[in-house]
């Protein structure tokens, strides 16, 4: 996995964490399984988008590590 790619993936991960944290602060009340639970349009949108970036970044990091591992296994 190229060094630059790792930094891009880490950037996406940190961006997602920042978005999710901001959304968590904006959304009032505690997490709740009682319907409808806390409602805040901007806050929950940020949480969802932030977690989306986190999931994609973790996936890219895992795929990159898999490529690196395969390359190491190919070496004699």
């Amino acid at each position: 996995m190229a060094g630059r790619a790792v930094w891009i993936y880490l950037g996406v991960l940190i961006f997602g964490i920042v978005l999710a944290a901001a959304g968590f602060v904006l959304t009032p009340g505690a997490a709740s399984f009682v319907f409808p639970g806390p409602i805040n349009e901007a806050g929950q949108s940020l949480i969802a988008l932030g977690l989306t970036f986190i999931v994609v970044a973790v996936g890219l990091l895992l795929a990159g590590l898999e490529e690196r591992m395969m390359a190491m296994m190919d070496r004699p």
Binding site: G29, A31, F35, N40, V55, G64
Partner: protein, 200 residues
Amino acid sequence: MGGDDESGGPGVRYLIGKSAATNAAIAGFIATMIATVSGLWFPGVKLPQFDFNALNGRLAFGDATFPLSRDVWMIGAVIHMIDGIIWAVIFGLVISPVLGVLFKPLRLMTPTANLMKGIIWGGVLWIISSALWMPLLIGGLLGPTFTGGFGLSCGVGPFLTCFGPYGIQALFTNLFWHMIWGVNLGLLFSPMWASGSGTR
């Protein structure tokens, strides 16, 4: 179908099983299970719960009553799982090879390229879900109950711009759900050249 590789030629190995169909079906099962359970856990991070099992059960039986019976939920879960596996097999046999033909960087059979294809397919299904499935089918079924019975201002808005008491966060939560599915599918449906180089 189910040959040695995406194009029917030899020299490709799969992360799971020995054919594209087997790999896609098992990857689809795992991805659907993880995404579905994650959707049920969404309230734990202050998000609206995404219970696709309930929605599929309601659609199958035209059931708009609250609370939903356990039997309808269980049948909805089976329908939803089969749907998820079918979408994954379509991805493995059709979409993944086509994306490789259409976009040169995705021609490589590397874990990253395979993941990108899964993310793209998850995004496409998010659009289908938000633009068609949710507003046209779920909206038609639950919309009158939301606005009439519950007195909410919205049923299911166009492109999921609202869903009962929720606004645009429903659309982004749906994106999150489909990205969980797409990332898991892309990581687990991973055809590679047997040499491991990713190119040929």
